[in-house]
Amino acid sequence: MRFRNLLLFIFIICWASLMRTSAQQWVVPDDQKGKVAPFMFSPDLQKQGEGIYTKNCVSCHGMPGKDNWVKQLSPPPGDLAMVKAQKQSDGELFYRITTGKAPMPEFRNILSEDERWWVISFLRTFNPKYVQPNPAGKGVFTGKVVKLQMTYDSVQKKVKVFATELTKERTMVASEGIGIMLFVKRYFGNMQLGDPKTTGKQGLVLFDFPTDLPGDKEGKVELICRVNDASGSISSSPVTSTYAIGVPTNKPGLTETRAWWSTRDKAPVWIILAYTISVIVVWSIIISIVISVIGIRKLNRT
């Protein structure tokens, strides 16, 4: 009995330490490590990648090679021009950008796949030894090819997304079990509506559209639906459509109403009235004094 307890104890210790190490390390699945970009990196793409990098990554990682990353973060983000970052394969970098791990955000819903590859193409410019593996051709891709169609059902007041997949016989059939996410376009980024949903047997998924979401002047909103796929085994492109289903929003500028802090033509009526009346009163008093002085002088002459 005591021996069994000891064994159990040892097992628990081992399991806990295993859990601990796995919690600390950021393991990239083997099938993701070998993933390669679908196109060759070019100076143009590297430039695009630099733009995305400075907008999304620089706040923690700093500019590569300048060692200006944020030292207070745990785990440390590190300089991406250093060997530790550069010795990773493209697939590993892609997986880490896609999935994130606190405090690093996941960029799955923020950057498109191409944009993530552009960032990698930019990072590779800091590694003179880097040779890009051959891009994944269309023939190499073994996953599903999924096509999305989005419509708005005005009767049910729901956004319908229909997923079809390409079969081996080159026909399109309804695709079941595909995770779909719905976003609405906003000024600084896309906002997710509800949780991701999975397509049913007919390849169909329904999203509720919030009744109080503001649109533009005519209530138009731009919706984007895309496949929720972390593994990269599904090839599909996001679908964008505009529908007049939001709340029409045309609020006046904040300087439109009359306010006491505003400029002269937007001053409150009572200020304009009070000012005008007081000016008239003061001037009429001055004029009446002048008239009476003239009258007194005339009287004096006669």
């Binding site: 907008k55 706040s59 906003r186 600084f188 906002m191 109080d212 503001p214 045309n250 904040l254 802090w261």
Partner: protein
């Protein structure tokens, strides 16, 4: 008839005189035309010489993308005036249809001060000048301390704008309160009126005065900073125009800041770039405004410092604030 008879003898007498006067006038005309032509020739020659002299000189200029180029003096056309006019009118109009709003989540702030340095870099401020500062707060002896980033609250009822005697500080239709350093007379009424102490005054020569002296003044960036005038947080109006998040928001490594458009009911986190609904964020997290009881209607919301993600550490790098 009478007139003719009386003038007749005179006419006859002065026949020679008349012809000599005509000749005189003719000669005078000829001389005049000749002189004018000569003068014109001389003047154009002078201009040509002047041009030749000027074209010998070239100037080294800095282009917008940071390249040094050598340009002939003659080819330089003063665009600075029209550029300034454009920036000034942009700066007054704002971005139509927008109402900018900021949300600061105090539970995430660990005083990394990346927002402060990004802001100071962008607006060419000295280390002791703050558009945005992280303050160490403790509401009462028994409550826990926390860090609080504080910038201009871009009030919808701005006391600073009301007191400005020269319309230098103004509110835009999109909600941003800006200061036009071209108009500011340095009276500092606005500093006295602001309950949030959000404004600073350039008492001394600004940081990059020498470097920035040829820059066209951008009212949406307050660069170049001007001696003897006010400077303040601008919600990075220049970045909003480009569809980018403000400097402080995108520099934060801890997800403290959200920024967006109230009309769209959406704010985007500067760190995670995740866009969420403004109304839900404020409702679920007990959002509040700073000193809302003053009736200033701030456009900056705070989320309370509950369940703080980082322990409080005394700040070591805070410069004493000089307003």
């Amino acid at each position: 008839m009478e007139d003719h008879s009386t003038h007749g003898p005179n006419h006859d007498d002065g026949k020679d005189k008349g012809s000599s006067r005509r000749d005189f006038l003719k000669n005078l005309g000829l001389v005049g035309v000749g002189a004018a032509t000569g003068a014109a020739a001389l003047y154009s020659g002078h201009i040509f010489e002047a041009k030749k002299e000027a074209s010998g000189q070239s100037k080294i200029l800095l282009t917008q993308d940071g390249k040094l180029v050598e340009v002939d003096s003659l080819e330089i056309k003063a665009r600075s005036k029209s550029g300034l006019d454009l920036l000034q009118s942009h700066g007054r109009e704002g971005i139509p249809g927008k109402r900018w709003v900021m949300v600061i989540d105090l539970s995430h702030c660990r005083n990394a001060r990346q927002c402060v340095s990004a802001c100071q870099d962008a607006h060419h401020l000295k280390p002791e000048q703050y558009h945005m500062n992280t303050l160490q707060m403790k509401d009462s002896p028994d409550t826990a301390p926390y860090h609080m980033p504080k910038n201009c609250q871009h009030c919808d009822n701005p006391p600073c704008v009301a007191v400005c005697p020269v319309d230098a500080t103004y509110k835009r239709p999109d909600g941003i309160v800006l200061i036009d350093n071209e108009r500011c007379i340095g009276c500092r009424f606005c500093m006295a009126a602001c309950p949030y102490s959000a404004r600073i005054f350039n008492w001394l020569t600004p940081k990059d005065a020498e470097k920035d002296k040829d820059l066209v003044y951008n009212v949406e960036l307050n660069v170049p900073q001007k001696l003897g005038t006010i400077s303040k947080c601008l919600f990075s109006a220049d970045r909003c125009r480009e569809g980018k998040l403000p400097y402080c928001v995108s520099a934060c490594p801890n997800g403290v800041y959200y920024f967006g458009d109230e009309n769209e009911d959406a704010v985007t986190n500067g760190t995670t770039k995740e866009t969420v609904r403004l109304s839900k964020l404020l409702r679920d997290n007990g959002g509040y405004q700073l000193m809302a009881e003053l009736g200033t209607k701030p456009r900056v919301y705070y989320l309370p410092p509950k369940n703080r993600l980082f322990p409080f550490e005394e700040a070591k790098d805070n410069q004493p604030e000089k307003v």
